[in-house]
């Protein structure tokens, strides 16, 4: 016979598991975003200066201008990919807590998720 699940304690454990992962990952996402936004802004400034001064030739002007759009899109796409990894990690951390609680309550050793 196992022990009943303490709902309040389980909620706290789930919240802690989610927060631990989220806190750590958000600092990585924040650092990445800040670097990218600054670098894309600097690139826009460089391209504008180069076009104005003629040091970016007609041969590359359109390419660099179009690339600014593509870069911003790729940044957003990467950020979305990173967020998916975070969601997956939170999911795994919480499922681990749930499985542990159920295992304790039922006395059954539930194998971890693959």
């Amino acid at each position: 016979m196992g022990v009943p699940i303490d709902i309040s304690g389980l909620v706290d454990q789930l919240r802690a598991a989610a927060s631990d992962v989220a806190k750590k990952d958000i600092s990585v996402l924040k650092g990445f975003s800040e670097r990218q936004i600054k670098a894309i802004a600097q690139q826009a400034q460089l391209v504008a200066m180069g076009i104005a001064s003629g040091q970016i030739t007609e041969e590359t002007q359109e390419f660099f201008l179009d690339s600014l759009k593509t870069m911003a899109q790729s940044f957003a796409n990467t950020l979305q990919g990173l967020a998916k990894v975070t969601i997956e990690k939170v999911w795994n951390a919480m499922v681990g807590v749930l499985w542990g609680a159920i295992g304790t309550a039922t006395g059954i050793d539930i194998p971890a998720l693959a």
Binding site: V28, S74, F75, G81, V95
Partner: protein, 165 residues
């Protein structure tokens, strides 16, 4: 943070019956390949930083081919990893959309897409170099662009190395 956890907890419960991943697996060979390519790219930009002339293009032709070939091979490796189940991604996107967070999920692997853009950038640089040479300013702009995409690819690939998995 509270709002994020508020979204993540129900989302996790929604997904808890599924034993599938949302993102590809970490591949050390790809991460190492990216680091090696970054070094080769920075060496190339250092060698051309003063600008080039078309008359000396032949000296750089093989370097361009090697760089572009390596980047394309890496992009292919990054793309060809087994993908997580689409149904799980769809569940996540639907859940987030219902809460006003709309993601335009193209299903692309971000690092592969960034590597393809680096390859396109290098190909453009090579073509212009061959035709008329590149100015020092253009080299700086090509480099700036490549560095932005490299940061995207490296950050994503390193992020896939989930701790404890």
């Amino acid at each position: 943070m509270k709002r994020l956890v508020g979204i993540l907890i129900p989302l996790t419960l929604l997904l808890s019956a599924c034993a599938a991943r949302l993102a590809p697996s970490y591949d050390k060979a790809i991460a190492d390949g990216l680091v090696a390519s970054s070094q080769q790219l920075m060496t190339h930009f250092a060698a051309t930083s003063a600008g080039t002339t078309a008359s000396s293009f032949a000296q750089r032709d093989a370097t361009y081919s090697s760089l572009i070939g390596n980047l394309d091979a890496l992009a292919l490796q990054a793309k060809s990893r087994p993908s997580p189940k689409v149904s799980v991604s769809d569940k996540v996107n639907k859940y987030l959309a219902e809460r006003g967070i709309n993601l335009s999920d193209t299903g692309e692997v971000p690092s592969a897409a960034a590597l393809e853009q680096i390859s396109i950038t290098l190909t453009k640089m090579r073509d212009v170099d061959k035709k008329q040479g590149v100015t020092a300013f253009e080299v700086a702009a090509f480099k700036g662009q490549v560095v932005i995409y490299l940061d995207q690819a490296l950050t994503y690939e390193n992020f896939l190395e989930r701790e404890g998995l």
